[in-house]
C-alpha cells in the first residue's frame, strides 16, 4: 500500500541575515499510510510543529522549502494549484494546540462547524444542521443540540478541543494532523480526549499524525513513533520499540526524564541544551549532550540504521545506548524522616475568595454571598518536609500559596509560622518572617524582570534581607549562581539571553538567596521541557535537602509530585479531599477524586491504559453544600453527598479522607 502522506527528503529553513541558509528541518523522510497513527515527539525547538504544518503544505512566515517534497495522496502540497486548498481542511485536517484560540470567538459553535461542512462536505445545505449535531455527538459532547448556539468562550478547554475535532471531522478527512492537541488540558480531560481520538482512529480508519512533547499521550494514541531532535528524525519505530527499548541516547534520555508514579524516584536529567534552530553540525546534532559520543559521531553525518532495540535510529552507538539508564534507574529519594518535629507552618481553616464586595456590601459590612474559592484548608508543614499540593486547574493550589506568601488576604482562618501567628498581608509582616518564606513561580519569563540583569535580580533579596552591597554582594550572587550550576559570567546577562531552564535556575537561586525556611513552588517545572524539568527537580531537591528547607510544592503533574513530596494534599475546587503520606496515597487512594486523578495519568508505555472514572465535566464553582466533588463522582452515594459536608476519616499515619463513603483504616497504608 502506498503512503497517504509521503514526506521525502524534506528540508525547510530560513535565510539568515548573513545570507546563508539555515535548516530547521533536515532531510526528513516520513511515510504515513492510510489507517496509520504516528506520533512525532521531541522537545521545543526540535521542528516537530514545523513538520506537521509542512505536511499540510504550510510554512510559518520566513521559512522556505530548501529541498524535498510533501505529497498527500500523490498531490504535491507545495504546488500552487487549487487542488491543495481543497485538500486542506477536507481530506487532510489539522487540529491545533489551542482550540480556544483557533475557534472564532464571535461565531456560534454550530455555525462554525456548518462552515466547515459548506466548504468540505458534499452534503446538501439542508442536511447541515442535523450533521452538525451528529458531529458534536460523535466527539462525545453532552447535549449537542444545545451546544450549537453557544459561543466558544462559553465552553471549557476540553469542550473547545472537542469542537475543534468535530470541525476537523466535518470534511470526513483521510488524515488528521494533531499539534499538541491535549497540552494545557487537565489530566482527566486529557485522558478523555485521547480516548476519543483513539476510538475515532479505530472506527474511521483515519490516519493520524500526532505531534507532542508528551510521550504518555503519544503512547496512548499512536502505533508508530518518530523522535525528532534538532530538525532531524533520530529514531523511528513502533511505539513499543521506541518506548520500551529505545536505542538512541536522546530517545532514551527523554524517557528517563519522565517521573514515575510508583516510586519516589528523581527523574534523570538530560544535560546540556539543544542547538538553536538552524545551527548545523557535520555529524550527530545530539553528540554535544551524549554520554557515548565519540570523535566519529561528530565528524560525519549519521545515517538511519536498524536499531538493536527495533525500528531505526540515527546513531552509531546503538548497542551501547541500550545500557544507558531508563526511568526505573532514577535515584530513589529517601523520604523525610523527622516525623515527630513540630510544625513549622500551620494553616487552619483558611478560606479565600476573590469576589469584590459591591458598594452596598461594603457599606453594610457584608461578605459576598458566593461560596469561597478556597475553603477550610488545614495543613501543617514540618521543617525539611516537602508537601505536594495537587489538583486540576481551578483547584485553588496557587491561591493557597499566594495566601501563605501574603499576596492574598484570606477571608478567614489563621496561619502560624513556628508557633507565632503570621499576619495575613505582606505589608503587616516583619522582614524576618518575610525572609523565611520564599516563592518560586511557574514561568521564569514572567517572574524575572526582563530589564534587570541576573546580578540585579539576585541582589534584590540579598540587599533587602542582609543589606549586602558592593563586592560582598557580587561574591554572594556568584556563589548562589554556582549552587544552581551557572557560571559567574551569567551575572551580567539579561533573562532573555538565557534558556528556559537557566532562567528557572536563576529564579530558584533568587528564592534560596533569602536563606528561607520554607519555599513555595508554584508549578515550577510546568513551563519547561521534560529533560530540563528533571534537572530543575534534582537541583531543587539538592538545595532543599542541604539546608533542610521545607517545601510546599504545587503541581498538576502527579509524577513530579511523587518524585519530590513526602506528603500529598489533594485539592478539588479549593477543598481538601485527601491528605496523607505520598506512598500510602499513591498506592491506595481512598477519595474517589484521588482515584480518578491517578487513574487518568498517562504513562509512556503503549500497554498502559488509563482508567477514566470521573465524568468529564467542568464545574464553574464549588457547590454551596455537600461534597465539592459530588457532580463528577463515580462512587456517589446519594443525597447525602449533596446536602452534608463529608466528614474527615482518619486512616492512620496522617492519612485523612473527606468522604461519606465508609473507609476502614488499612494496615498497608502505614507503609
Amino acid at each position: 500500500m502506498s503512503a497517504l502522506i509521503d514526506i521525502a527528503d524534506l528540508s525547510i529553513g530560513f535565510t539568515t541575515r548573513a545570507g546563508t541558509q539555515a535548516a530547521v528541518l533536515r532531510h526528513i523522510d516520513l511515510a504515513v499510510r492510510a489507517h496509520e497513527t504516528i506520533g512525532i515527539v521531541g522537545e521545543s525547538g526540535s521542528g516537530k510543529s514545523t513538520l506537521a504544518l509542512a505536511a499540510m503544505g504550510y510554512l510559518k512566515p520566513g521559512l522556505g522549502v530548501l529541498g524535498g517534497a510533501v505529497r498527500f495522496a500523490g498531490q504535491d502540497m507545495f504546488a500552487p494549484t487549487p487542488a491543495v486548498p481543497a485538500i486542506r481542511g477536507g481530506r487532510l485536517a489539522l487540529i491545533p494546540q489551542n482550540a480556544g484560540q483557533a475557534l472564532t470567538p464571535t461565531i456560534r459553535i454550530g455555525a462554525q462547524i456548518a462552515e466547515a461542512l459548506r466548504l468540505h462536505s458534499s452534503l446538501p445545505a439542508t442536511a447541515h444542521p442535523a450533521r452538525v449535531i451528529e458531529l458534536l455527538a460523535r466527539v462525545r459532547l453532552a447535549a449537542p443540540a444545545e451546544l450549537v448556539v453557544r459561543y466558544p468562550h462559553e465552553l471549557s478547554g476540553g469542550q473547545q478541543q472537542r469542537v475543534a475535532i468535530a470541525m476537523a471531522l466535518a470534511g470526513e478527512p483521510e488524515a488528521l494532523l494533531l499539534d499538541e492537541p491535549t497540552t494545557g488540558l487537565d489530566v482527566t480531560t486529557q485522558a478523555h480526549v485521547l480516548d476519543l481520538l483513539r476510538d475515532l482512529a479505530a472506527d474511521t480508519g483515519m490516519a493520524m499524525v500526532y505531534v507532542s512533547h508528551d510521550l504518555g499521550a503519544v503512547a496512548r494514541v499512536c502505533a508508530r513513533v518518530a523522535v525528532m531532535y534538532a530538525g532531524e528524525i533520530v529514531a523511528e519505530g513502533t511505539a513499543r520499540q521506541i518506548l520500551r527499548t529505545p536505542a538512541h541516547p536522546y530517545a532514551r534520555g527523554l524517557i528517563a526524564a519522565i517521573p514515575t508514579l510508583h516510586e519516589p524516584r528523581l527523574p534523570i536529567p538530560l544535560d546540556g541544551r539543544p542547538p538553536t534552530p538552524g545551527a548545523t553540525e557535520p555529524g550527530c546534532a545530539f553528540a554535544p549532550r551524549c554520554a557515548l559520543a565519540e570523535y566519529a559521531c561528530r565528524a560525519t553525518p549519521i545515517p538511519l540504521t536498524p536499531s538493536p532495540g527495533g525500528g531505526t535510529i540515527r546513531c552509531r552507538r546503538g548497542p551501547d545506548a541500550l545500557r544507558l539508564p531508563l526511568r526505573q534507574d532514577g535515584q530513589l529519594r529517601t523520604p523525610h524522616e523527622d516525623q515527630a518535629a513540630t510544625a513549622l507552618l500551620r494553616l487552619d481553616g483558611i478560606a479565600v475568595h476573590y469576589a469584590r464586595r459591591s458598594l452596598w456590601q461594603q457599606l453594610t459590612n457584608q461578605h459576598p454571598t458566593a461560596a469561597p474559592v478556597v475553603d477550610n484548608i488545614a495543613l501543617s508543614l514540618r521543617p525539611g518536609e516537602t508537601i505536594g499540593l495537587v489538583g486540576e486547574s481551578g483547584s485553588g493550589k496557587s491561591t493557597i500559596l499566594k495566601t501563605i506568601a501574603g499576596l492574598i488576604a484570606p477571608l478567614r482562618g489563621t496561619t502560624t509560622l513556628a508557633n507565632t501567628p503570621l499576619a495575613p498581608a505582606v505589608a503587616q509582616r516583619d522582614i524576618h518572617d518575610l525572609r523565611r518564606i520564599q516563592l518560586i513561580f511557574q514561568n521564569p519569563d514572567e517572574s524575572l524582570n526582563p530589564r534587570q540583569t541576573i546580578a540585579t535580580i539576585l541582589a534584590q533579596p540579598l540587599q533587602l534581607y542582609f543589606g549586602l552591597t558592593g563586592d560582598t554582594l557580587r561574591a554572594r550572587s556568584a556563589d548562589l549562581l554556582a549552587q544552581v550550576r551557572l557560571g559567574p559570567h551569567y551575572l551580567d546577562r539579561l533573562p532573555a539571553q538565557l534558556s528556559g531552564g537557566e532562567k528557572q535556575r536563576v529564579a530558584v537561586a533568587r528564592a534560596f538567596a533569602a536563606d528561607p525556611d520554607i519555599i513555595l513552588c508554584d508549578e515550577v517545572t510546568s513551563a519547561l521541557d521534560v529533560s530540563v524539568q528533571a534537572a530543575v527537580l534534582a537541583l531543587l531537591d539538592d538545595l532543599r535537602r542541604a539546608r533542610n528547607t521545607a517545601c510546599l510544592f504545587v503541581s498538576h503533574d502527579l509524577g513530579v509530585v511523587r518524585a519530590l513530596a513526602d506528603r500529598v494534599v489533594v485539592l478539588y475546587q479549593g477543598r481538601i479531599c485527601e491528605t496523607g503520606p505520598a506512598a500510602a496515597l499513591y498506592a491506595t487512594p481512598a477519595h474517589p477524586y484521588t482515584e480518578a486523578l491517578l487513574g487518568a495519568v498517562l504513562e509512556p508505555d503503549p500497554d498502559h491504559t488509563p482508567r477514566l472514572l470521573a465524568a468529564d465535566v467542568v464545574e464553574q464553582g464549588p457547590p454551596a453544600t455537600g461534597c465539592p466533588f459530588q457532580n463528577r463522582c463515580h462512587r456517589r452515594l446519594g443525597d447525602i453527598c449533596a446536602t452534608t459536608a463529608p466528614p474527615t476519616q482518619d486512616l492512620g499515619t496522617g492519612h485523612l479522607v473527606r468522604c461519606h463513603i465508609p473507609l476502614t483504616p488499612r494496615p498497608e497504608t502505614a507503609a
Binding site: T276, N449, R451, Q452, Q460, L464, P495
Partner: protein
C-alpha cells in the same frame, strides 16, 4: 547607546534626529550667527525679495527674514524643552501610581483625566492665560500641566501591563516597599513608553506655543517668533510669500523631525535587547 544606534539605522530616525539636532544647534548658536539685527526696521527695504544681501528677503518692516527665522524658534524651544520633562515626570509618576494602586482612587481620578481631555486644549490654555497673563512664567506651568494629563493615561496603561506580571508579585512577596517596586521593577519597564510619549508631547507643545503666539498670547512683538511671524506676514502672503513661508518651513521641519525621531525611538525600544531572542 544601542537605542541611538538603532534609531539612526532607520531612515526616519536618521532624518528625524538630523532635523532636531539642526534646529537645536540653530537655536543655541543663532545669536552669533545672524547677519542682521532682528528688530532693526528699514522702511526702504519693505518686502524685499530674497537676494544676495537678504537670503530670505525682508518683511513688511524691512527686517531680515533669515535673521528672524533663525532666532524665532529660541523661545518656543526653550519653553517646551523645560515644560516637556515636567509634563512627562508628573504625568508619568501619577499614571504609574494610579496603575499600581488601582481601586476607587484610580476610578475617580481617571474620570477627571477624561473630563480634562474632553475640553479643547486651546480653550483651557486661553482661560489660564487670560486669567494670569501671558509670559514664560505662566506658559511653562500651563503647558506642563495640560500636556502631562494625557501622559497619565499612557503611563497608567503601561503600568497595568506590568503590574500583573509575576516579578511584581515576587517583589511584593519579598516585602519591598512601593517606592522600591516602582523604581526598580516598574520604571525600567515603562520608561520606553514614557520616552516616546514625551517626544510626541514635545512636538504638540511646540505647536501649541506657536499657535498661542499666532493668536497673540505668546511672545510679545517685536521679539522674533515663528508663530508671531506667521501671524504678521499672513496678510501679505500675496505680495511677499517668503515672509510667511520661512517660519512655516522652520516650524514644520522641527515638528516633522520630532515625529520621525519619536517614531524611530518607539521602534528601536520596542525591539530592544530585553525582547530579542537569546544569542
Amino acid at each position: 547607546m544601542a537605542v541611538l544606534a538603532r534609531m539612526l539605522a532607520r531612515p526616519s530616525g536618521a532624518i528625524g534626529l538630523g532635523l532636531v539636532t539642526l534646529h537645536l544647534l540653530a537655536a543655541a548658536l543663532s545669536p552669533w550667527l545672524v547677519p542682521y539685527d532682528a528688530t532693526a526696521i528699514d522702511a526702504g527695504l519693505m518686502f524685499a525679495p530674497p537676494d544676495a544681501a537678504h537670503w530670505l528677503g525682508t518683511d513688511q518692516l524691512g527686517r531680515d527674514i533669515l535673521t528672524r527665522t533663525l532666532l524665532g524658534g529660541r523661545e518656543a524651544i526653550l519653553v517646551t524643552l523645560i515644560a516637556t520633562p515636567i509634563a512627562v515626570a508628573w504625568g508619568g509618576l501619577t499614571g504609574i501610581h494610579l496603575g499600581l494602586a488601582g481601586g476607587r482612587l484610580d476610578d475617580v481620578l481617571m474620570r477627571v483625566v477624561d473630563a480634562v481631555l474632553a475640553l479643547p486644549w486651546i480653550l483651557k490654555m486661553l482661560v489660564i492665560i487670560v486669567t494670569f497673563g501671558a509670559g514664560v512664567n505662566v506658559l511653562i506651568p500651563t503647558l506642563a500641566f495640560f500636556y502631562g494629563v494625557p501622559v497619565i493615561r499612557v503611563a497608567r496603561a503601561a503600568t497595568q501591563g506590568v503590574v500583573a506580571r509575576d516579578f511584581i508579585s515576587a517583589a511584593r512577596a519579598r516585602g519591598h516597599g512601593r517606592a522600591s517596586i516602582v523604581r526598580r521593577e516598574l520604571l525600567p519597564n515603562v520608561l520606553d513608553a514614557l520616552m516616546v510619549e514625551g517626544a510626541m508631547r514635545w512636538s504638540w507643545m511646540l505647536l501649541a506655543f506657536s499657535s498661542l503666539s499666532f493668536l497673540g498670547f505668546g511672545v510679545a512683538p517685536p521679539t522674533p517668533d515663528w508663530g508671531l511671524m506667521i501671524a504678521d506676514s499672513r496678510s501679505f502672503m500675496a505680495i511677499a510669500p517668503w515672509a510667511a513661508l520661512a517660519p512655516v518651513a522652520a516650524l514644520s521641519t522641527l515638528i516633522i523631525g520630532i515625529n520621525f525621531a519619536a517614531d524611530a525611538l518607539a521602534k528601536a525600544v520596542g525591539l530592544d535587547r530585553a525582547q530579542t531572542t537569546p544569542h
